[in-house]
């Protein structure tokens, strides 16, 4: 029994086990990635929209058996990390020889932390998209945050080509005072584990309009602008379609006008549009609403990512990088006592494996 357990421990902690698992991981990922691309060239773009766990829960079952290789990849990843962990523990317990091998130990530790951070981020992370016009504030789905766009400037080259954007943003978290920041390419707005990226899509378009009510008057609806009505009701903007845009039967340009009660519950809604064949007036909970002049402004669509594991990943990355520097120093002979050309014998291999 003892011998069997020792043999099992030797197999589990052997670098060869890790290598075999690595090869299987590489083959699975390599073949799977190529097959997935040929099946759907947009496969990876779609996959990047979700945190990994959410993709596994919502998309992978729908695309089975094409997604089988991802399930295999997950199993192999866990096995590989378990092998690496046991290897590292075994190495630490048996081969503590001062600073010799510290570089390798740090590389392994860093990698384990990166994997742990990735698992946490995949399990708890959020990826959302928010479209905002200048001055508008909206909730970020899946978070307790709301985002406000204060300004959006397009940075242009000397010949007028758009190069970049600079967004001034405000993030609100339940009752706290807002955090202000900017987002531009390679310089997102980072707040703890939440990152707001510069807009992938921006432009100049309809951001609201004047809506006439009968009985009542005319109101300007837009980002952060609603109109109080009699009976504790509020008229607000529920959505916008730009010229030519379609959603179901609705065609742009037009506004989705909603009536809410004091608690924010939607009582009724109507879509008013200038597009041919669409209605410019409608009945909204007994009030006649008419589409007036549409207002235009600059808007942007922002990606908001929250990754709770990112600081563990960054810590792991720093440790891993330090490990490589130390290993390199040893390899170049800058660390006393480290021999860079030690080819081991079978006996030494066996000893190391336990």
């Amino acid at each position: 029994m003892r011998r069997a357990l020792e043999a099992l421990w030797r197999a589990a902690t052997s670098p060869v086990t890790f290598v075999v698992l690595s090869i299987m991981w590489c083959v699975d990922l390599g073949a799977g990635s190529v097959a997935a691309y040929f099946n759907d060239p947009q496969f990876w773009v779609k996959m990047d929209r979700y945190p990994f766990n959410l993709w596994m829960q919502q998309v992978a079952p729908r695309t089975f058996p094409e997604s089988l290789w991802v399930y295999i990849l997950v199993v192999l990843s866990y096995l590989m990390v378990a092998s690496l962990l046991l290897c590292t523990i075994n190495w630490f317990l048996r081969r503590r020889k001062g600073i010799k091998g510290l570089g390798e130990f740090l590389v392994h530790l860093g990698f384990l932390l990166i994997f742990a951070g990735f698992v946490i981020g995949s399990a708890l992370g959020v990826r959302a998209q928010v479209s905002l016009a200048i001055g508008e504030r909206r909730e970020v789905p899946g978070t307790a945050l709301s985002l406000q766009l204060d300004d959006l400037q397009v940075v242009r080259s000397a010949d007028g080509r758009p190069l970049d954007t600079l967004s001034s943003l405000r993030v609100y978290r339940d009752g706290q005072s807002p955090r202000r920041g900017t987002a531009r390419t390679n310089h997102p707005f980072i707040w703890g584990t939440t990152v707001i990226y510069p807009p992938e899509d921006y432009g100049y378009g309809i951001t609201g309009g004047i809506v006439g009510t009968d009985p009542g008057g005319a109101y300007l609806l837009g980002p952060g602008r609603s109109a109080p009505l009699k009976g504790d009701r509020v008229l607000a903007l529920g959505g916008i379609l730009q010229p030519g845009q379609r959603r179901g039967r609705a065609v742009g340009p037009g506004l989705l006008v909603v009536m809410r009660d004091r608690s924010g519950r939607v009582l009724d809604s109507a879509y008013l549009s200038r597009a041919p064949g669409m209605k410019e007036e409608d009945d909204l909970a007994g009030i006649k609403v008419t589409l007036g002049e549409l207002t235009e402004s600059t808007y942007g669509t922002y990606r908001v990512h929250r990754d709770q594991g990112v600081w563990i990943v960054i810590t792991g990355t720093v440790i891993l990088a330090l490990g490589t520097v130390w290993a390199l120093a040893g390899f170049l002979g800058l660390v006393p006592g480290m021999n860079r050309a030690d080819v081991r014998t079978r006996g030494q291999d066996r000893d190391e494996a336990g």
Binding site: P15, S22, D48, N186, Y197, L320, F331, D349
Partner: protein
């Protein structure tokens, strides 16, 4: 700058070609030592260094953007390593192979535009420059490792002091460390620019495959059962993987890392 770049590019190619000619002559003419081939190789290297320094000054950024510059950077590392091995391990027999690989990279570089262009905001970050510089340096070293392995496999003595094992070891080890830095810089850049340090894009995935592959090679490279032939085959297969990750993906797929 384009004319200067072309002139220096052609000069470096010519000097490397001369190095191959001199080496061939040294094999045929008694009294002409093989190490004479080092001098034209050094002249080619000097031309490349001048080219890259001038482009650095003209563009005001590390010259590692576009096919022309990246291939020059790769060739630079290949020749530097070949010269280092020649001087350190008397591996003058190996130098022509390294110079040949560098020439292949430079001929491929000729396909790329030679104009110095300003960095777009997306790549105007030190992380991009570190990512590309270390990637191509690593590619060069993995190429050298494959050449050393090939020499060993077909039984050509690359070094009279039997340092082939050490040459192979050094190229893979240093290449792996540089590639690790490339992956770290690339991941951080991806996090800041695109929203995640891990993206499910084919180029990134194959880069991880490459990293894991060489991690495996490093784990077995000193184990008794993996010495000699298995390690040589691993080094050659590794470079095939490098070529596929760099060229194959760029040519066959629409990737986030276009080739040209």
């Amino acid at each position: 700058m384009e004319a200067t770049s072309s002139a220096l590019h052609m000069s470096s190619l010519a000097f490397y070609g001369l190095s191959l000619v001199v080496y061939s002559l040294s094999r045929a003419v008694r009294g002409l030592p093989q190490k004479v081939a080092v001098w034209p190789a050094l002249a080619g290297l000097f031309c490349q260094l001048v080219l890259l320094v001038l482009r650095w000054r003209a563009g005001n950024h590390l010259p590692v953007t576009g096919l022309f510059e990246t291939q020059h950077f790769l060739a630079l590392w290949v020749v530097m390593t070949g010269l280092y091995f020649s001087v350190r391990y008397w591996a003058y027999n190996f130098l022509p192979a390294a110079v040949g690989l560098a020439m292949a990279a430079l001929i491929f570089a000729s396909r790329g535009p030679k104009a110095v262009t300003p960095l777009t905001p997306a790549i105007d970050t030190p992380l991009f420059l570190i990512h590309i510089a270390t990637s191509f340096a690593a590619y060069g070293l993995f190429g050298i490792a494959a050449l050393v392995a090939l020499f060993r496999l077909i039984g050509i003595s690359g070094s009279p002091v039997n340092a082939e094992q050490r040459m192979l070891d050094e190229s893979i080890y240093l290449g792996y460390i540089l590639f690790t830095w490339a992956m770290i810089a690339g991941s951080l850049w991806a996090y800041l620019a695109w929203g995640s340090y891990w993206t499910w894009r084919i180029k990134g995935l194959w880069s991880w495959i490459l990293w894991f592959y060489y991690s495996g090679v490093l784990h077995v490279r000193k184990r008794s059962g993996w010495q000699a032939r298995p390690l040589d085959l691993l080094a050659i297969a590794g470079y095939a993987l490098v070529l596929f990750t760099y060229l194959g993906l760029g040519l066959l797929f629409k990737t986030s890392h276009p080739l040209l």
